[in-house]
Symmetry: C2
Subunit: 356 residues, 2 copies
Amino acid sequence: MSRNKIGQQSVAYSNKVFIRGVGSVVGDLEKKGPLGEYFDKYTDDPMYGEKTWEKAESRMLKECMIEAMEKAGRKKKDMDMILSGDLINQLMSSSFMARDMNIPFLGVYGACSTMTESLLVGSMLLDGGYGSNIICCASSHFCTAERQFRMPVEHGNQKPPSAQHTATAAGAMVISDEKLELTNVMKNQSPLANVIVTGGTIGKVIDAGISDVNQMGSAMAPAAVDTILTHLQDTGRELEYYDLVLTGDLGYIGRDIALDLLVGAGLDKRTLQDRYHDCGVLIYDRENQDVHSGGSGCGCSAAVYCSKIIPEIMMGKYNRVLLVSTGAMLSTISPMQGESIPGIAHAVALERFDEE
Amino acid sequence: MSRNKIGQQSVAYSNKVFIRGVGSVVGDLEKKGPLGEYFDKYTDDPMYGEKTWEKAESRMLKECMIEAMEKAGRKKKDMDMILSGDLINQLMSSSFMARDMNIPFLGVYGACSTMTESLLVGSMLLDGGYGSNIICCASSHFCTAERQFRMPVEHGNQKPPSAQHTATAAGAMVISDEKLELTNVMKNQSPLANVIVTGGTIGKVIDAGISDVNQMGSAMAPAAVDTILTHLQDTGRELEYYDLVLTGDLGYIGRDIALDLLVGAGLDKRTLQDRYHDCGVLIYDRENQDVHSGGSGCGCSAAVYCSKIIPEIMMGKYNRVLLVSTGAMLSTISPMQGESIPGIAHAVALERFDEE
């Protein structure tokens, strides 16, 4: 009876789920990174004009949602619901955002996998007919995350090279049952096209036994690999089906582990190297920015998808993209209780929408 | 196009979403309370045989899921996904449960509204055809919550009379696209019937400006009232449509405020008094158990629904019930930053399924 389920863990949609608008807001370091030009807004003030970092993160969420709604040509009153999550205890950034937005709110949490969780659940709810316009988003903030998970920022704590830098970033997508009318403004340009979500894969919690909190990439890589392999098996697709497979924030170490594991599982190395990337690697310039093993945080993949990747699908650079945000489901006390770090990854498949 | 949406914030299902099995596990205080006989399992050991309270809470979740699957006549391998959440930072109890269950996992968070959030989202995903068997659950544990939100338990902290007692409790529902075959075993008994989820209302975050963390009931009552009124308006139903309207954990003070606000909004007081109750009031005996303003925690409403309410619908005591779990979206740091407490409530409508 589950007519939209395929294989063990995946879903495929019956209707067109359009990504009608995207918005991204980042901090100073992200703006100065290699993707700086793509973000809609940035702030060089970690407080973003607010009294606390948490309110600043909340404001980033609001700003990128407003940006996404504007691009979508939709208003707040058109929105059926928000699905959002963040790293802060009790989803503080998201619930304070939702308090101000006055739109029905569903809090979701998958650690740094939250952007693909909100997009996957949101797109199922849209395809299923429970709304016509749904906002899916996620955020993170270096200062809120450092204080909560690590050391006070003022402490100037040193980290081992395997650690990652939590991105100050937020991304929002307005998904809709109506496509966006697009106008080509340049001659000889590939025609612009809408982006649709065609389905995805719900991840399982996978624990590889890593207990070092400075090895998040290693802890999450097995979950990413499990989800990618399951997605390919469930859908009967080859890796070549996608022009780009993008994990969330495995960083340099986790990305290399994921590559090794995928090759070990029988995928072709050259094919992988051509199309597999990681947002935690893309968002910073490792040589010139002090970010150790790369970026992390829910906002890292959210902002990369919403700034560069989705517009590039619209412009024709990619036809099919698999987004796989990755989360480490640890708390501040679980490692102290001797627990290893459970990982999770949810996948969402995007395609350029062919009008014909 | 959103064919299953009604009104501003509500949804109504096209297919039958059966609650095929329910399970509940509680602690000692809950077992000794007025609903003690209804719970499937209990433990008088706050550790539940584990090394930490968090693992104990995780085990409670697993046990009530197993109970729900057994009653549903379903196995772990039949489950398409779990939707679960709890109060512990980064959903530790749920993600550790999911690590052991090996079922696709979606983490949800709505503070103490989590049970109706997981059931509402889960039932939309089932109705929409993304799975045939989905587990929806939520948990809380007095000791994990006290440590995280208040004082170390060993401290023996005193609380004001307006404070509530976090229930050590977990509840799980297996929802399914196939009904349960029921056999009547007693003469003259009302015939047993299946319970279906017919829809619900997604709550907005409502902040009444309460900033006292010992006044959770007051902080959440306006959100509960907003969701109940919106549900009636969206569905065009009168209060009399439901035999029972049950909020999650407003406790004595919050329940009275909710009653006042509902009467103030024009609902009939006598009709309300006949059918409106609160799980935080029902779960303990205020006279003989030291629980101040009543029970709270995600597990409070989860365990009450899964132990007493849903079986009573099956047995014919109620025909139509509206579940409205209520959450206070504060963190440990938000009150210290001068923030008031945002509340949220999601509603789920249950009906006795008439075979004809």
